[in-house]
Every structure is written in structure tokens, then in C-alpha cells.
Assembly symmetry: C2
Homo-oligomer: 356 residues x 2
């Protein structure tokens, strides 16, 4: 494999057309994309080129058989204006765990990291400097072979695109504990960041929203009793001064924020336990006053404070304030923007290392 | 909605380049595709045009969040050379059931049928006349909106492409009863013909093949005990002179062949029961000699005769012959090619109805 990344930059950047104080959510894309092709059993031709539509055969297998996985991460600016990535090696690993479950080829982790760094360096001007803003990065891989039939594809594309995202308003959210639809089951693809998992969640999320809730609380497939995740976030509960979060049983995504929050909580002296958590247990903790906080964690929103959990049967009140979660959120944001010491060496600078 | 379908035909068909006696599986496509766009809440611009790559934004939501569903059906020639479709209204209905589960818009059933008929009429020369050959049709719908974020898309494409398929060799198959991976769970998307279900099945199928089996026997997600489907087929067992097939519990695809085989079996005087079927029950039936046959049913292969079922624990022997299944297969093929009377009025002619 040739790891040299060719770079073909646009003549005129569109970045000046963007009002960084009013970034339309999810619709603005940067000037370039990183692309790499998989053919004859290897990844070839890594390149940064102008973002443009990709000519796609209508029989491209991803559109039919769903071999499509992705990652989500963000680039921030440190106080000196240097682009920073948060634990990118975690995403490099996770996309390959996803690939393995979906019968897709691994993407070389060094190339993932190097491509990402060079890409972010090229798109540096697109990173919004505003507090709480960031450049959202979307590495993804999909089967682009034109073939009708059920088997793993032999041609794939690995692509990175980016979209600037404005400051987040961490409003308190209400969850709907969903007992009919499921997101994932053990033995399925819940641990993979696979396209199909998200499609499965769309309709149930619409139903929860129509009932006045913000997000779905996903429960286990067999008993609709054990808590998995919330929307596209992992979930934590604070019971007295212990934090509990669902253990990784194969149906829960291994969130990078989840792992980071666990480490930060422990760093601050809290006990953190990964275990099977039933809705009943949370209801009891709410009733007896030991449930102090609950929150979701994910790259897109950071930390989302949970106010209550509704279901067909009853409503579980959580809390009106989330003091520890807020502290963790602030700490995380300050680490990501280089404003406090980075106790775990999580941040990676994205600078072009000029090749000789 | 304007249902008039515009037709832009190629000047020179590629059909003469194809050797109908040696059709490469899944790689040959006809000259045209049927396309229709969903925008501003309606389906617009239905058209038949030359098959060509579709310019696809790298943020097209189907590639990230998996809103992608499909159908599979076949066109045959009757003895007079008229193209025939098998129960196409069933596929028109099913794609909309899939759409509903995946948060996608319904596609008008009349337009599905009309588009399909006109498309097949245009591609008529691509229907292989050989016994057991057919033109495989692939209607599908996917989210082509460029957007980063989890919600239902607002732009979709509905497309039909076609691929000629050679005669099938219905070899006897060995199944691997899979107890670790699952294809679908109740509350999930198993009843929808959604791309993600197929991606979930690829890796487990590869594993089963590496063990020397032909297809995976899918079991329920909770107990790994109840039989769902086999590969991408529904499954039937003959116990003495009764046929049993898993009931539609939300995790099983509503196969058109399944429904047709049930009707034909009843037509021939057999009792057919849809119920929960455990692997143990089948094992007992094998042990006590009452298990006479088992077979998979689906559009792609018709009927696949099952010889045995292996698992981590033991091997269940089914049978070396499948007399009733063969009779049903023959009957089905003869109905599809107009060689016997069509007792249920299943066949629909695909002819261009000239618009005034
Ligand atoms: C289903 C699901 N759970 C959890 C998360 C959180 O993961 P991370 O913290 O790595 O963003 C995501 C991510 O984006 C997700 O899609
Ligand atoms: C999972 C699955 N089950 C069963 C079937 C059989 O359905 P049909 O008879 O409509 O082809 C298919 C279809 O193709 C399928 O994908």
C-alpha cells in the first residue's frame, strides 16, 4: 500500500460565504473530501480532492445490502489556533470493529489518522473559532461495487467529509422508554456504527417526538427492561455518589465520550460501574431519592442532561439539575479546546507533516 | 402527482453482447433504469432513461443512516413471448410496509406497477428465453439528501434496475443453525426489506460457509431456539403430511413465494400451519421419523431443498429427497412461465399501454 496522500486543492474556498455565527445544521460542507478506494484486496489512491458528487452505479451494494459504516468526531482549535483532534485513534479502531462485524475490510489505522490530520489541516479555516463550535468530521466506508446478490462486496470507498457545527445548547431532555421497537439486540449489529442501526431508529424516534419527548431510551430486545442507550448517545446515571452505565453487552455502541467520561469521573474520585441496568432499578432509585442525575454522552452534543423518563406505564423523574454532569461537560470542553491540562494525553494536533 | 412516465431509450442496446447461455451472476445490467424523485413531499418526474451512474453527494443519507429498502422480483416470458410478472402488487405493497418501518415515504402502488410494466416492456429483449432463466428486477428506494444528522430524509430516489439471471440449479443445501449472531429481532427491522438486515447477515453467512454449510438458519434473538428464516428465504418443514412455517412475528420477511407456496400446498390438499417452530421440535421430528422434507422459498432461487441442519450441538438430518417441494417448485415455475393454468390469477402481463 502506498500511504502517500495526494492533495488537489480547490482554487477558491467557499469558507468566506459562511456566517460562523449562523451555521445551518448538517447542511454545510467544507471544500474537500478525503477519498481512498478498496480494490483487489487493498486500499489504493488516498487523496484529498474537491468535495463533489460521486458517480455511483445504481447497483452499488451499499444502497441494497447496507454495507456502510461511519464515524463521528470533531476538530477544535486550541488557544494558539492549532487544529486539535480528540482521541482519533479510538475512532480509527472502532471503524475497524464495525467493519469486522459488517464483513467489510479494515482500513489501516495509520492511514486513517494521517488522512484525517492532513484533511483537517487543509480544512483548518472551516473550524469555527466560537466557543462550543467545532468542525464535525465524518469518516465513512461503503460498498460501491455494482452487484446484485448477497455477499460481501469486493470494492469499497473510504471517505471523510466535514461540516462545521455551531455552539450546542445543552437543554434538559425528556426520554421515552421504548417498549415496542428496538435499536439493537445481542448478536445483531448494535456494537457496530453501521448505517442500518440508524435507519432502524428513525421511525421510533419520530413517534417519541410526536408524544412530546426528545429522545428514545432504548431497551433490550428480549425483555424491554434493560437500558441500552439514549438516542445516539450512551447513558449514565448517578445513584448517590456512584455513576452507573450499561455494560457493553454487544448491543451498545462503545462511545468514545462514554469512555472519556468514565475516566474523568474516576479522575475526580467518583466510583463508576458498568453493569446491567433495569428500568425498574432506576425507577426505585427515583422513588427513594437516590437518583441524583442522568445524562447522555456523545460526540455530537457532548453531554445531554436528562430530566425525566416517560413510558407507557409511568414517568420516572430524574432531576432538575445535573451538577456533576455539568462539571464533566465543562472539563471535557476545556480539554478539547486546549484550555486546561490534558491529563490523559487525549488531544492530537492536526498539522501537515510535509513529505520529503 | 403526474404519473406520465417519460421514456428516453438508448440508441443501441447492449443486449446482443450477452450470451444468454452464460450469464455472469449479478453483474449484467440491462440498458435502462426507471427513476423517480421524491422532493417537497411528492414523487415527481417518473422516467425510464439509460442506465448510468447517479451523481451522489458523499453526504447522501442512505450511505450514513441506512434509509434504503428494496424489492426483488422476476419477469418471465410466456409461451407467446409476452413478458409476465408474478404477483407484482405484492411487492408494491411490501415496499411500502418497508418504507413505513424505516421512516420513508410510500411509493404510489399504481405507479410502481405501471412503471414496472413499462420498464419490463422496454427491456423485453433482456428476458432470457431459456427454461428456468428470468429477468431479475430490483426496485429500490434510498435517501439521497445530503445531510449530516439523525432524522428521516426529505429527498429520496425510487429506482428500478434489472439483471438477467441464468437457470438455477436447485442443489440440496446444508444449513448452519446460528446461535451467536442474529439477523433480526422482534421490534427491529426484520419484517422490512431494509438494506441493514442484509449487511447484518453477511459476516455470519461467511462463517457458516467456512464451516462447510450453504446458508444460515436464523434463530430468534432472545433464546436462539425459534426458527425464523434461512439465508434470504422463508422456510417450510413437512412433518408427516402437514407443512409448518414460522409465523410472521415481526422478525420474518413476508415472502411472496412463502405466501404462494402456502396457497399451492393448500390447493393440493395439504394442511399448512403458521406457528412458532423450535429447533428442538424439528430435531424430535427428525429423530422419530416424522420429518419428511424442509425447504427454503424465495424469488431468487424459487425453492431450495434442505438436506440437514448443523449446529454447535448436533446435526439434524432432514431428508435426501423432497418430492412435494419439487412438485410445488415445478408447478410454480410452470405458472410463472404460463405453461399451466394460473389458478389464482397471479400473473400480470407487462405491455406498454400507449398513452394518448
Ligand atoms: C448509537 C450511538 N451511541 C453512542 C454514541 C456516542 O459515541 P461517541 O461518544 O463515540 O460519539 C453514538 C455516536 O455518535 C451513537 O451513534
Ligand atoms: C430475508 C428474506 N426472507 C425471505 C425472502 C423471500 O421473499 P420472496 O419470496 O418475496 O422473494 C427474501 C427475499 O428475497 C428475503 O430477503
Amino acid at each position: 500500500m502506498n500511504n502517500d496522500i495526494s492533495i488537489n486543492q480547490v482554487k477558491y474556498s467557499k469558507v468566506n460565504q459562511l456566517d460562523f455565527n449562523n451555521i445551518p445544521l448538517g447542511k454545510t460542507f467544507t471544500d474537500h473530501m478525503f477519498v481512498c478506494d478498496y480494490e483487489n484486496g487493498e486500499w489504493v489512491n488516498p487523496r484529498i480532492e474537491p468535495l463533489q458528487p460521486i458517480a455511483t452505479h445504481p447497483a452499488a451494494m451499499a444502497l441494497h445490502y447496507g454495507q456502510a459504516i461511519f464515524e463521528g468526531m470533531k476538530a477544535y482549535l486550541d488557544p494558539d489556533g492549532v487544529p486539535m483532534l480528540f482521541r482519533p485513534e479510538k475512532n480509527a479502531q472502532r471503524i475497524n470493529e464495525s467493519a469486522d462485524r459488517m464483513g467489510m475490510p479494515a482500513f489501516p489505522e495509520e492511514l486513517f489518522l494521517e488522512g484525517l490530520k492532513q484533511y483537517v489541516a487543509v480544512e483548518k479555516n472551516w473550524i469555527p473559532p466560537q466557543e462550543g463550535s467545532a468542525l464535525y468530521l465524518r469518516p465513512f466506508m461503503y460498498a460501491d461495487e455494482a452487484f446484485i446478490g448477497m455477499r460481501a462486496a469486493t470494492h469499497y470507498k473510504f471517505v471523510i467529509i466535514a461540516s462545521p457545527s455551531g455552539p450546542l445548547y445543552n437543554k434538559r431532555i425528556k426520554l421515552w422508554a421504548e417498549k415496542q421497537y428496538i435499536r439493537a439486540a445481542q448478536g445483531g449489529t448494535g456494537e457496530a456504527k453501521a448505517a442500518g442501526n440508524y435507519a432502524a431508529a428513525i421511525r421510533p424516534t419520530e413517534i417519541a417526538k410526536s408524544k412530546g419527548y426528545d429522545q428514545v431510551l432504548w431497551l433490550d430486545a428480549a425483555e424491554h427492561q434493560y437500558i441500552q442507550e439514549v438516542g445516539t448517545m450512551n447513558i449514565f446515571f448517578r445513584v448517590n455518589d456512584e455513576f452507573i452505565t450499561p455494560k457493553l453487552d454487544g448491543s451498545v455502541l462503545k462511545g468514545v465520550t462514554r469512555d472519556s467520561v468514565m475516566k474523568l469521573l474516576q479522575h475526580l474520585g467518583y466510583k463508576v460501574t458498568e453493569k446491567l441496568i433495569s428500568l425498574n432499578e432506576i425507577k426505585e432509585a427515583s422513588n427513594n431519592g437516590s437518583l441524583k442525575e442522568a445524562f447522555g454522552t456523545g460526540t455530537a452534543v457532548g453531554i445531554a442532561y436528562i430530566e425525566e423518563i416517560g413510558s407507557d406505564e409511568d414517568t420516572i423523574f430524574v432531576s432538575e439539575e445535573s451538577p456533576v454532569a455539568e462539571k464533566i461537560n465543562d472539563l471535557l470542553n476545556q480539554i478539547k479546546t486546549g484550555k486546561v491540562e490534558d491529563p490523559f494525553n487525549w488531544m492530537v494536533k492536526a498539522e501537515i507533516v510535509t513529505a520529503s
